[in-house]
């Protein structure tokens, strides 16, 4: 390793101190008003001015020490654990990803059994799996096809409203409405796709952002159909193949001779969304191996070369938008039936940003990464709920840390979509492992 020479050199103390001093100065500038000075409402209602210079000094000192230590020892740590891991490590990493995926899936399947009595955790589980599914859907557009979509929430909304409206006006069941909602969302995806066919990168991002907002404004203002800001209440709950989850004689519990418990429905909802998410994952992995999936990835890499090789880039883009939108629509329909109430407030840009963050942090194109990112982010939100004033701060620090230390996402390996015969050499063996069915 060429960098080994640096390891032998003693740590450069003056440089480290200088770096730490600069960092401390920046921290001081940032926090002097945020932490050092505070205004409270006094007894007479007037604002009272207090100072907290002790806390300020502590933070600045902490930044100074942390930066100095990092400057002195970080290189050693990185070299010791090898961001430049030799091949054997990488190889076991591919296998590890497979085991991790299997373990993750096993855990996801067991959640309702393990946490049966804990309604709060079950709800959190449903939330996480919903966002995982949204992440899978957006991953097709952003991770595979490389089309930056900032308005993904639009399709989530279209799916939710489609289900709510169809179920209310036509009295159709969830299982009939679900494909219809997906279809309508896919149609919305194509609708968005046409005008942006020629756009790339930042321009595409701006237009998709606008599209998300347009859909929200339509929902807000088309009062006669969508109820405007009041939303749609009383959306039918899903039934277990016709058996409602209630205490009646014909309910799910009575039919199976169980004591009625509201948890039954929660568990059922959990498995519904888990099935949908796994379906999305399975379809994505399948598609990646078909010509259309390969065309998506090639499109991400080089559009001009794609065309010259006979790939119809128009159709390729439109199918990517339609596919991603369809899964967003499924998730939206699920969201509507779970909540029983929807309003445009649930479909703001924040949702798009959250799903995009999940995809990017997960390592664009990696299914396991998306699932982990969704768990970490939503779980993290919940974990820090008590410290809600610091929640966004911790979230921001975590984002910055990931961008600096894992710039290609949590799971950065990309499993190849094809392989011929028996793996022959080391690289082939490493990737051969990753081509089994488990989400990688």
């Amino acid at each position: 390793m060429p960098r080994e020479g640096k390891l032998d050199r003693p740590p450069d103390l003056p440089a480290a101190l200088k770096e730490a001093a600069i960092a401390a100065l920046v921290a001081f500038g940032l926090f002097v008003l945020l932490i050092g000075i505070r205004t409270d409402q006094g007894p007479t209602g007037a604002l009272v001015f207090t100072t907290r210079f002790g806390a300020l000094a502590a933070i600045v000192a902490a930044v100074f020490v942390a930066t100095a230590l990092r400057a002195l020892f970080w290189r050693r740590i990185v070299l010791a654990f090898g961001s430049v891991a030799p091949i054997p490590i990488k190889r076991s990493a591919a296998r590890l990803a497979n085991y991790a995926a299997a373990a993750f899936l096993g855990f996801a399947l067991l959640v309702p059994i393990v946490f049966y009595g804990n309604r709060y955790l079950l709800d959190l589980g449903i939330l996480i799996v919903t966002y995982t599914m949204l992440g899978f859907g957006l991953n097709i557009v952003v991770g595979l096809a490389g089309l930056l979509d900032l308005g993904y929430v639009a399709f989530y909304a279209v799916g939710a409203y489609s289900y709510a409206l169809i179920a209310q006006y036509f009295g159709l069941s969830f299982w009939i409405c679900l494909p219809l909602a997906g279809l309508l969302a896919a149609f919305a995806g194509i609708l968005l796709g046409f005008p942006v066919l020629r756009l790339r990168g930042d321009y595409l991002a701006i237009v998709t952002l606008g599209f998300g907002e347009i859909i929200r404004f339509v929902l807000l203002n088309w009062q006669s159909l969508t109820g405007g800001p009041n939303g749609i209440p009383g959306i039918p709950r899903p039934s277990f193949f016709g058996l409602p989850f209630n205490a009646s004689e014909h309910g799910f519990a009575a039919t199976f001779g169980l004591h009625y418990s509201p948890t039954h429905r929660i568990v059922f909802l959990y498995y519904v969304i888990l099935t949908l998410a796994l379906l999305t994952n399975w379809v994505t992995l399948r598609l990646r191996r078909l010509p259309i999936g390969r065309a998506w990835e090639a499109l991400r890499e080089d559009e001009v070369a794609c065309r010259a090789l006979g790939v119809n880039t128009t159709n390729t883009k439109l199918t990517a938008f339609a596919m991603g939108a369809m899964f967003g629509g499924f998730a939206g329909a699920f969201f509507a039936t779970r909540q029983g109430f929807i309003s445009p407030e649930s479909f703001t840009f924040t949702e798009s940003a959250l799903v995009l963050a999940i995809v990017v942090l997960g390592g664009m194109g990696s299914q396991l990464g998306v699932a982990i990112a969704a768990t970490v982010m939503l779980g993290g939100f919940e974990l820090f709920r008590e410290f809600h004033q610091y929640r966004m701060l911790v979230f921001g620090i975590a984002m910055v840390a990931i961008v600096i230390y894992r710039p290609r996402g949590l799971v950065a390996t990309r499993a190849p979509s094809v392989s011929l015969g028996k793996p022959k050499d080391i690289s082939a063996a490493a990737v051969g492992d990753a081509r089994t069915e488990t989400p990688a």
Binding site: A295, E297, A305, R307, L309, G310, R414, K424, D425, V431
Partner: protein, 244 residues
């Protein structure tokens, strides 16, 4: 098969522009079936533009491009590729994050899926290096391997005509010979028609049946490869100081 006497590819009076700047100022080129035709010229003369114009990017604003008798001037790029014209473009443009195998499969987009393994075999026989590296990501290949991949990817389309833009760029002499030998094999054994852009005028003209010289967006000279090699003005402009 084209009718006897009819060229496989014909450009007539083709003009192409980038914005309002003319890059091709009325170009006439003919390539007959089974030929190797070389196009040589200085940097910025319009060689790459000419190749890309065949694919409609940039599109010829005037003039006409015919392939096997069919007017393809206004055809969408991917439709042109479906007629089995393939290219290894300037800068190779392989897909860096996809494996060698996946790159080759994209190259086979216009071919029958049933022929895939036979086509792969053909490419791997021509470039055994690619077989060994089939699971490596394209972007991590060496320059020469990337060039092989770009040519191999084009061959996956079972082309009738292949356009090669500077296949020897940046390669060591031994590898250049390998690539040129491969081109000759493809032409002689598989009857593949080749249109070749090269800076390496000596090699290119020796290999080619015929050649064109392009200067400033216009064809300034044409003739058999041997004939062009002898011309003093060519020797002065493109060969002096080069290989003898």
């Amino acid at each position: 098969m084209t009718a006897p006497g009819q060229p496989l590819l014909a450009l007539r009076g083709v003009k192409a522009y980038y914005g309002n700047v003319a890059a091709l100022k009325g170009v006439d080129v003919e390539i007959r079936e089974g030929e190797i035709v070389a196009l040589i010229g200085a940097n910025g003369a319009g060689k790459s533009t000419l190749m890309m114009t065949v694919f409609g990017a940039p599109r010829a604003r005037e003039g006409e491009i015919r392939f096997a008798g069919r007017d393809i001037t206004a055809l969408p790029t991917h439709e042109i590729a479906k007629l089995r014209i393939a290219q290894s473009p300037e800068g190779r443009r392989i897909f860096p994050r996809m494996t060698v195998l996946e790159n080759l499969q994209i190259g086979g987009t216009v071919s029958d899926a049933a022929d895939l393994s036979a086509d792969l075999d053909r490419v791997f026989t021509l470039f055994p290096r690619l077989r060994d590296r089939q699971h490596q990501r394209g972007g991590t290949l060496s320059g020469g391997e990337q060039q092989m991949l770009a040519i191999g990817r084009a061959l996956m389309a079972r082309p009738r005509l292949i356009l090669l833009d500077e296949p020897s760029l940046g390669l060591a002499p031994l590898l250049v010979q390998q690539i040129f030998a491969a081109i000759r094999t493809l032409n002689e054994q598989d009857k593949l028609t080749v249109f070749l852009v090269e800076q390496n005028a000596h090699h290119a003209l020796k290999l080619a049946h015929r050649g064109y010289v392009i200067v400033n967006g216009e064809i300034s000279m044409q003739g058999s490869g041997r004939e062009l090699l002898q011309r003093p003005e060519i020797r002065a402009a493109y060969l002096e100081g080069g290989v003898r």
